[in-house]
């Protein structure tokens, strides 16, 4: 058995054992799907936007992935606090292997969470228009999961305790979600908002994921994939670098 695999497995076991966490982190996406989805549906249709659930679901799925992934990465803070991080850091293995195992594990957990939300969306009336493109949709889920776990890893490597957690939620995670175009179409918006949307990595995730599920993609799936791929690599590099610099 190898180091990366066993650390990955650990993340998965922890996830499946914390049932309250699975259900807890389904709450927010569900709330958005039901309240915003069905609440805004009629207005959206009247404005000529079509079926709002079709538009909203991809964004909600990625929202679930975003939250779970960042949280998985941030778990480093707990491991540090409860001492377990030491055990891995003094082992004769490279930090890179450790961070890779943790990140892959966290990303897998986030994808599973995404799948659960996808199933809920299907039950709520969402259709996958182009099943043939589903593998591409999976790729988007995977890249988002990896990218945001790496982001969580980066944050968790720098912070020493959970005091900053509300700060991270309100100034990183929530903005990433709200400025991603998950909730509303991005054309015809004020300039400032446009810029915020353009610099939000999740925008390209949502756009491409939507395209792959059969809705309209604004930037084109290829472009989205490329931008997302590059950003994922960059965040993975930053996450591993910061993790490798953790001092006990």
């Amino acid at each position: 058995m190898n180091v990366i695999y066993i650390l990955c497995l650990r993340q998965l076991k922890r996830y499946f054992r914390a049932r309250s966490r699975i259900i807890g982190s389904l709450g927010q996406p569900l709330l958005f799907l039901l309240a915003v989805g069905f609440g805004f549906g009629p207005t959206f249709k009247k404005a000529g936007g079509g079926n709002y659930i079709q538009f909203l679901a991809p964004g909600i799925i990625l929202m679930g992935i975003l939250f779970t992934a960042v949280f998985s990465g941030i778990e480093i803070i707990w491991d540090r606090q409860f001492g377990f991080l030491k055990e891995t850091l003094v082992a004769p293995v490279s930090r890179f292997q450790i961070v890779l195992g943790r990140t892959l594990g966290g990303a897998t957990v986030a994808i599973i969470q995404g799948f659960i939300i996808l199933v809920i969306c299907l039950i709520a009336g969402f259709h996958i228009e182009k099943p043939a493109l589903f593998p591409v949709a999976l790729l988007f889920m995977f890249l988002c999961a990896l990218m945001f776990t790496a982001l969580g890893t980066a944050i968790g490597s720098v912070l020493e305790d959970m005091q900053a957690f509300p700060l991270i939620m309100n100034f990183i995670v929530m903005p990433l979600f709200f400025f991603s175009g998950a909730l509303f179409p991005v054309h015809g918006l004020p300039k400032a908002l446009q810029i915020a949307i353009r610099v939000d990595p999740l925008t390209y995730g949502v756009d491409g994921f939507r395209g792959a599920l059969g809705e309209v993609s604004l930037f084109g799936i290829g472009m989205d994939l490329m931008i997302l791929g590059i950003l994922t690599v960059i965040l993975l590099a930053i996450g591993s670098y910061l993790f490798s610099r953790i001092q006990l």
Partner: protein, 265 residues
């Protein structure tokens, strides 16, 4: 006899404060070396430097012939550590904690299986092997940590207050096992403790450290002779004085309290 640990003129400063102040000592291969000192003396800080966790400000260290700063990997594969603070994953079972450790240290699946059973039986946790560690008592956790540190059969084992909070039965059991290992497999043991009779009984060699400096070292008998004391405890107090060391709560303590405030599961 070759030297397993060689420390020369070791210094660690935190800001302007000398936590370790020009310390030199040696530990021979196969020796049981006891490190004693009041709270805040610098014991843990020295162990951290010996075990690659902390970089020294200056001075030189050799552990099994390797420099913990430059050859981290080599040093890490020759040592086992029981930290002063807890370091288990409470959300995993005893078995899983050991399995992960074995994989991290490259122990083959077969050896892992054999040794896990042997060690867990020894620390009397075999019946609880499938229980989550968070449900263990303090003493059970400590026993598991000791078993874990021995799983990869290190050449040197560092034990930072290994018997803290353990009942006399368990302390006996554990020390007997460590001594057996020390005899049979020639494992070098480096430990700290605040229990003087324990140190007197098990250590071949003792160093007493106070305020970052070694104030005396030698075989337990020599320390008692030096101070004309009956017990090691008297010798210790004579050497380090009666004053109680004021210690601020460390950051990790504060973080642990915070963890509780946040009510993690």
């Amino acid at each position: 006899m070759s030297e397993m640990i060689e420390v020369h003129d070791l210094v660690k400063k935190f800001g302007d404060f000398y936590a370790v102040d020009h310390v030199s000592f040696q530990v021979s291969a196969g020796e049981i070396f006891g490190f004693l000192g009041p709270n805040g003396a610098g014991k843990t800080t020295i162990i951290k430097m010996l075990t690659t966790i902390l970089k020294p400000t200056s001075g030189s260290i050799r552990v099994d012939g390797h420099d913990p700063v430059r050859d981290q990997h080599q040093v890490r594969s020759s040592i086992g550590i029981v930290f002063q603070d807890p370091s288990l994953d409470g959300d995993m079972t005893a078995l899983e904690n050991l399995q992960l450790h074995g994989v991290l240290y490259g122990v083959s699946a077969e050896d892992r299986k054999d040794r896990t059973e042997k060690l867990l039986r020894l620390v009397q946790l075999w019946d609880r092997r499938k229980d989550f560690v968070k449900n263990f008592s303090g003493g059970m956790k400590r026993r598991l940590e000791i078993a874990r540190a021995l799983l990869h059969e290190p050449k040197i084992i560092f034990l930072d207050e290994p018997t803290l909070g353990l009942d006399p039965q368990t302390r006996n059991l554990i020390w007997n096992y460590i001594r057996t290992l020390n005899k049979d497999k020639n494992i070098t043991v480096f430990f700290t403790t605040h229990y003087m009779e324990e140190a007197d009984r098990v250590a071949d060699e003792i160093a007493i450290i106070d305020q970052g400096k070694i104030v005396a070292n030698g075989v337990p008998g020599a320390l008692k002779e030096l101070t004309h004391s009956e017990s090691l405890e008297d010798a210790f107090i004579l050497l380090t004085g009666y004053a109680i060391r004021a210690e601020e709560a460390s950051t990790s303590d504060r973080m642990r309290t915070l963890g509780k405030v946040w009510g993690r599961r």
